[in-house]
Amino acid sequence: MRNGQRIAFIGVMLAVLSTAFWGVGAQQASAPAAGQREGGGGRMSAGPPEPAPRLADGTMNLGRAPGEKGVWSVPYITNMGERVIEADGTTVYERRMATARGARGGRGGGRGDLPLGGGEGTAGGARGGAKSEPQVPFQPWAAAIYDYNSKNNSKYDPEGYCLPPGGPRLMATPYPMEIIQLPEQKRILMIFEGATHIWREIYMDGRPHPEGDALNPTYLGHSVGHWEGDTLVVDVVGFNEQTWMDYYGHPHTDMLHVVERFSRPTKNQLRYEAVYDDPGAYTKPFTVRWNIPWNASGELTEYICQENNKYLQSLTDDFGQPIFGKKQ
């Protein structure tokens, strides 16, 4: 662990001493946010869903059709633990949505897909010490870090510092994004309005990941991709340790290896699935998934997080001292 969050780490050491590593059954009282509806996007229409567009060569088009607008409306997923696919093939989030639909007489596809409103990180309330979940295969130190982040309401979340999300959190930070395929250049760009106004490049030319010191740890890592039928598969390594996996503060190490799968079963839905394999922080790999709706009228706008980040001016450490500026 050579994470730069030293202040947080001091607290973690304290937390390690006082915390049970596996907080079984201590689910949060308030539901974390699903930022926006999943499962299709757009308004309900009577006809069959529109098919996904394709490039001229027949390749699945994960972006706009020629002459059209549109962006992916990335949902706000604050807790990856709720999106972990468990032994029965479902996630906490999916089970909750199914229950919500059942309570309304089994009418699917309706408001059960709407945002829950509020949610963590929002006006919905505080995290308040929610413990590490049993469906996430934490190593003890990772569980302790997670519980520490929970206790302090994620105040040290690097996104609050205007640092970028790393890995799948890019697809869980609620700003529009676009996927731009450049097959003639053998690469794909993903452009994120939020998440610190960042882009990522996915090499599609068959190159391997760099090895040894040639693999420089970065926020977004090194991404190589290929198509498996209509599914884009992206393999990512080379993450630094400056990011959290989510707002809730699931940690990771620079041993993290992510495999992402992007598919577009209909024009209005991007299916996203990612395998986290981090032997530095977790006892075994686990897979998360969620859907991302298409906003057919959307376009990207500017968002420069660093401009006037007053949050940092009021941020204090565990001893009440300002993190930036003069100590009292």
Partner: protein, 138 residues
């Protein structure tokens, strides 16, 4: 001046779909959803900036004291999608603000809804979560 300051107890169901999502930093680390605020005052300053737009209002308390409050909203991109422009609020405008107070009890709050007294126009101080949902429903 008819401006006034009223703080009221937390009400169940206060949040729901109009809740302002703070995707940028931890809401709970800075604000307290259990300290709702309901302010009416005159705009003294606007900072139309990322990652949060702030505006400041002079609020006259019942005892006549004037207190300046700072209020956080979403980023300009999010506010634009929610129907704002950089000129929606002007210095001198009288506004009502619903939101949550800072945990440290400073005169700082997170604005969830802003109502312009002159026109009655009610605007959500949206961030990207709420505005992209609205876009989706458009």
């Amino acid at each position: 001046m008819r401006t006034r300051f009223a703080a009221f107890a937390a009400a169940a169901g206060f949040v729901l779909a109009t809740a302002t999502a703070i995707a940028h930093h931890s809401f709970a680390a800075e604000f307290d959803a259990n300290q709702p605020i309901n302010l009416k005052g005159t705009v003294t300053k606007i900072e139309w900036q990322n990652p949060h737009t702030y505006f400041y209002i002079d609020v006259t308390e019942p005892n006549g004291t004037v207190v300046n409050w700072g209020l956080e909203m979403g980023s300009p991109n999010g506010l634009m999608r929610a129907g704002w422009t950089r000129n929606t609020l002007k210095v001198g405008d009288v506004v009502s603000v619903e939101g949550s107070r800072a945990k440290d009890k400073a005169q700082i709050g997170n604005a969830r809804v802003v109502t312009l007294a002159a026109t009655g126009r009610r605007l959500f101080a949206a961030s990207s979560q709420t505005d992209s949902t609205q876009q989706q429903q458009r």
